[in-house]
């Protein structure tokens, strides 16, 4: 994958096993790479302006600004303040879901059976909503801060009648996505299975994390010029930091 060479050596790396959560502050000018190392991963993600956490990822604004029902290379993740939290500068599986939400305790129990900590210790069943709440709680955030999220590496398409269709074997081992932070972005994620994944077995997959310094965004940037809406989104973001691209 030639694009990997375009980024400098990572400044930080870590790995997240299946059904666990992680959070980090990705500063403006840094890129978060998430890699599906085993294939068929799902990575549920929320994002906030770390300097004012009332400003957060907005699924609806992201979709309608870019006239899309999914996320791919060239798209950006909008906040609810008309600014860009993340740009998708590179990715290799063509479709990332943002309309399906996450599992909760009841849905996991119904689908995979009851597997409490007492009998299973750390292989007990977790779920996306609780892992979001746990990770958000570390920043003083909670239920009111959970909004429709992104599900990286998962594809759900909508048919003519409105039905939702989960595509199995969508993400291959080695698939990755680069999320370039355009703001100082608090990212909160977990690696639970997608709520529409028809796989009846509890098989949450791991992801690898790497953070790179990516520097300033040029005027001819692909994500910035993806559509006129994104050009305005980048102007709003530059205004916020009083940093204008020459």
């Amino acid at each position: 994958m030639t694009t990997q060479a375009t980024l400098a050596p990572s400044v930080y790396q870590t790995s997240i096993i299946g059904a666990r959560s992680w959070s980090f502050i990705i500063h403006r000018g840094y890129t978060l790479r998430i890699t599906d190392i085993a294939g068929a991963a799902n990575c549920s993600l929320l994002a906030y302006n770390n300097d004012e956490k009332l400003e957060r990822y907005n699924m609806a604004d992201t979709l309608k600004a870019q006239h899309t029902a999914m996320l791919t290379k060239g798209n950006v993740l909008y906040s609810d303040m008309g600014r860009v939290l993340f740009s998708i500068t590179e990715e290799t599986c063509g479709w990332h879901d943002t309309i399906s939400g996450v599992n909760n305790a009841k849905l996991v129990r119904e689908k995979y059976g009851s597997k409490p900590y007492q009998d299973n210790f750390n292989s007990f069943h977790r779920n996306g909503r609780e892992l979001f709440l746990i990770e958000l709680g570390k920043y003083g955030l909670g239920k009111k801060d959970i909004v429709p999220n992104v599900n990286l590496f998962s594809k759900v398409y909508v048919n003519a009648e409105g039905g939702m269709n989960f595509v199995t074997q969508h993400s291959q081992a080695g698939s990755f996505i680069d999320l370039r932070a355009e703001m100082n972005t608090l990212v909160v994620l977990n690696t639970c299975q997608h709520p529409l994944d028809p796989n009846p077995s509890w098989e949450p997959k791991p992801v690898d994390i790497a953070i790179f310094h990516s520097g300033d965004v040029s005027k001819d940037d692909r994500c910035r010029n993806h559509c006129p809406e994104n050009q305005r989104g980048f102007i709003n973001t530059e205004n916020y930091y009083c940093q204008h691209v020459a």
């Binding site: 609806a60 309608k64 008309g82 939400g101 939702m164």
Partner: protein, 212 residues
Amino acid sequence: MLKLSSLKAEQAHTRHTIAAGEPWLYTLKKGQTLRILDLEGNQAVDTIFYNAHDPSERYSATDTIRHQNNIYLTSGSQLLSTEGNVMLTITADTCGRHDTLGGACAAESNTVRYALEKINMHNCRDNYLIALAESGLEMGKRDITSNINFYMNVPVTPEGGLTFEDGISDAGKYVELQAEMDVLVLVSNCPQLNNPCNAYNPTPVEMLIWDA
């Protein structure tokens, strides 16, 4: 799915007209039915629901569409909360399809979608913010989350396209919801003038409420 109501307007215990561009905040009791009547046609009604006793439990678009495996709302749709509970059920619908992916318009998103100069135009989030600020409920921006756009037409294609198209509603069409718990209803009668969601002419809607 089109489904007519048997409720009679003259038997409603509350009738309230919301002018275009105005908010409305109301507590609907469990068992009561709310009718949203599109008086002049093609009017988007941006609506959020909260558990009246614990507003941290609120309507969830993603849980709702996943639960029914369909992104469009119509009669029979159960509106789910962030806790996975049924908040309301759509019991009648003469329009046939309502959006819940398009969100509510805001001054800031209008600058992205249309032009930086659109910052000055009235929008649904302003309505939500003022209604919550005046409510005495200690609710605000954190409480503005995914909503339903009654009467709005936002088709999605299998290839992943999404557009705002001309409405499929008309004067006199209505949708009815029965509350399955006590719910706080927050409405913005949408003032958007930049896309066809209101046919470029925002108009009033009427809210009618019947007891169980």
